[in-house]
């Protein structure tokens, strides 16, 4: 056989291209990919580490149980740098990969807001942990929330403070970011339903170095109970110390960050005796207990909501894809919305038409550094 120059060229081209083609063909079908944006750098880097811990734990469990549609599940991560431009860039990098079938978004509402338009444009499901109620009420059908939203936390904080602690003069303190503003509003609304108008509604900017003016305002208001929405545990730690140093010892019911691992460690005794709403409370159910044990065994750390929601999100996405027998976005969406009475680490998931999976909160108490489950309140809203 005579080898022409044309044959040689075709052969050479095929030879050079083959490994890449084979690699690409095998890569496309080998795993089912889930994208995850998380803060690896920036002010919420610690939260990002916990979020990844939870997601990896679920990934391992799903894959050990046979994976999704007979394939292994794979996580592709991008650093959002804890900033809005960072999260948009991180999501765009993941969105450019067509074989990613679903996403895990941020626990920070501000950042979910930043990438929400791109999620809507892409049209694939995204699991989020941000608790601003608006996120699932702004017509974006691809956002699914794996934590209770703040309209529930607001009413649960209000109900516990008023009906169980018997307090009527409320001071509300909240961050001025999307999470804190929505949380403060939700608490005000929760109190309004009980016929109470707060004596103080005070916002503060994230990364504050000093809270003396805030503490003095609380003192002057004559409040007998404090409700708070802190975004960063560092801020909460600084505030807690100054609050007690300046002699304010009124009961305090806070949003989930008040019972976070870092807050408890940073603020120490100044948080003893405080209450918090917690989506994740280890003793609240058998599923929560089992998750807590698995998490402690794997990471030698106390579990908290930062990791529990991503654990549930991966499990629910896997379950939805297996039920739908497909990775088509619309089919995954329908399968998630059909999930009822699913026992997750965070609680019982019953997805509503807005994409909210959980509808209640646990009240927990800081007893000398131990977070103790008090009661579960299923919100009426």
């Amino acid at each position: 056989m005579k080898l022409t120059r044309r044959d040689f060229s075709i052969g050479l081209a095929a030879g050079l291209a083959a490994p890449a083609l084979i690699r690409s063909a095998s890569a496309q079908g080998a795993t089912i990919k889930i994208g995850m944006v998380l803060p690896v750098t920036g002010s919420a880097a610690e939260q990002g580490k916990f979020a990844l811990n939870g997601a990896k734990l679920a990934l391992e469990a799903v894959n050990k149980a046979g994976g999704v549609l007979g394939k292994q599940l794979e996580l592709v991560t991008e650093d959002d740098q804890t900033t809005n431009p960072g999260v948009v860039l991180a999501f765009s990098k993941l969105a450019a990969q067509p074989d990613i079938v679903a996403f895990l978004g941020s626990i920070r509402s501000t950042q979910v807001h930043a990438m929400a338009p791109d999620v809507l444009k892409l049209g694939k499901p995204m699991a989020i942990g941000g608790t601003d109620p608006n996120l699932t009420h702004m017509g974006n059908k691809w956002l699914f929330r794996f934590r209770p939203n703040d309209s529930y936390s607001g009413s649960v904080i209000a109900e516990y403070g008023v009906n169980t602690l018997g307090k009527k003069k409320w001071a509300i303190l909240h961050s001025t970011d999307a999470f804190g503003t929505a949380g403060g509003k939700a608490l005000t609304e929760g109190l309004a339903k009980l016929g109470i108008k707060p004596v103080l509604d005070q916002g503060y900017a994230n990364q504050s170095q000093d809270f003396t003016p805030v503490v003095l305002a609380i003192k002057q208001s004559g409040a007998d109970v404090l409700g708070s929405y802190f975004t960063f545990e560092n801020d909460l730690g600084i505030f807690a110390r100054q609050l007690r140093q300046l002699g304010v010892n009124i009961p305090w019911v806070g949003s989930p960050s008040i019972v976070g691992v870092s807050s408890t460690r940073l603020a120490g005794a100044t948080l003893y005796g405080t209450y918090g709403v917690a989506d994740y409370a280890e003793d609240s159910s058998e599923a929560s207990k089992a998750y807590g044990k698995a998490y402690r065994d794997a990471y030698k750390l106390a579990p908290d909501n930062q990791s529990a929601w991503t654990y549930d999100a991966i499990n629910v996405l896997a379950k939805a894809m297996n039920t739908a027998k497909s990775t088509e976005p619309e089919k995954i969406r329908a399968a998630i919305l059909a999930i009822k009475k699913y026992q997750g680490a965070e609680g019982e998931y019953n997805f509503d038409e807005n994409g909210d999976g959980l509808h209640g909160y646990n009240i927990v108490k800081n007893e000398k550094g131990n977070i103790v489950f008090e009661k579960h309140i299923e919100a009426t809203k």
Binding site: S43, A205, Q209, Q220, Q245
Partner: protein, 291 residues
């Protein structure tokens, strides 16, 4: 009145922290004519060194303190040789950009080595503070104020009454003339970097019991210290102290009597006003545009 006294104490306390970091800015600026944007990261690194030695390794606090400051002196040397020295003959802009790059490198190196979790660093005192009539005096703030005052006195003595201080002054005023007079300019600049790294480190160690130890702590303080330096006058030691204290008091009172969420904005509104109407600051010469 009680409230005013309480706010004044806190304002002076936090203002002293800004002043300490601002001092580092000023010293480097005087010696090299550039702004070192890694000054805040010096504070952060020193606080982490304290956590490693006194908390993780359990060494005595005073020993950890000395090691941390020695570590900062070494960082000053490395910073001078690695960031400033190779670019010393260029205009000030590449050097400023290099210091920004170095600050990002320092922050991310600490993040990679130590992880993102904020840490607790206890202070020198076993008691958190004292109640003096209606005013609560945080012991750590008292220490910070005392150290700042001591440094003001020390700087005055050092720069005005010691030979090395005079050589440093001569170098900052005219490098060529200083060199002709037999002063080793590069040694003087090296000493300045060491001293300002130690100052930044001292600020970080002192403020850590109040703000906790985190990757962001340096940049948060440095931004305010930078504003304080503009207000006081870039290049003026007294200005840095006055600017820092003024800023601490302005933002504390602004937050209490005008708006808490806009607390940080007050600092930058004052900064803008100074840049527009008095770019040389309270005491300084007209050099703010170099920032």
């Amino acid at each position: 009145m009680d409230q005013i006294l309480q706010l004044l104490f806190t304002g002076i306390g936090i203002g002293s922290v800004y002043a300490l970091v601002a001092l580092g800015f000023v010293l480097i600026f005087r010696a090299t004519n550039v702004v070192n944007f890694a000054q805040g990261e010096f504070s952060m690194v020193a606080a982490y060194l304290m956590v490693v030695f006194s908390f993780d390794l359990g060494w005595p606090y005073w020993l950890s303190f000395l090691i941390a400051l020695a570590g900062m002196a070494l960082l000053g040397v490395i910073f001078n040789l690695g960031v400033y020295y190779p670019l010393r003959h260029r205009t000030y802009l590449p050097v400023i950009i290099a210091t920004i790059g170095a600050s990002i490198l320092l922050a991310n190196s600490v993040l990679a080595i130590y992880g993102p979790a904020p840490q607790v660093l206890e202070g020198w005192f076993s008691t958190p503070g004292i109640q003096l009539g209606p005013v609560y005096l945080d012991s750590q703030y008292l220490l910070i104020i005392a150290v700042t005052l001591a440094l003001v006195v020390f700087n005055f003595w050092f720069f005005e009454h010691t030979m090395i201080g005079k050589k440093l002054q001569a170098t900052s005023q005219d490098k060529e003339m200083a060199s002709l007079l037999g002063i080793s300019v590069s040694t003087m600049i090296m000493i300045t970097f060491i001293y300002s790294a130690v100052l930044g480190g001292l600020a970080g160690i002192l403020v850590a019991p109040i703000l906790f130890v985190s990757i962001q702590m340096g940049s948060t303080i440095a931004l305010k210290a930078f504003a304080a330096t503009i207000i006081g006058g870039f290049g003026d030691v007294t200005g840095a102290i006055i600017g820092g204290l003024a800023l601490g008091i302005i933002e504390t009172f602004g937050a209490a009597y005008i708006s808490v969420p806009y607390k940080d904005a007050f600092a930058f509104m004052v900064l803008i006003l100074f840049l527009v109407f008095r770019p040389q600051g309270i005491f300084g010469e007209r050099v703010a545009e170099k920032a």
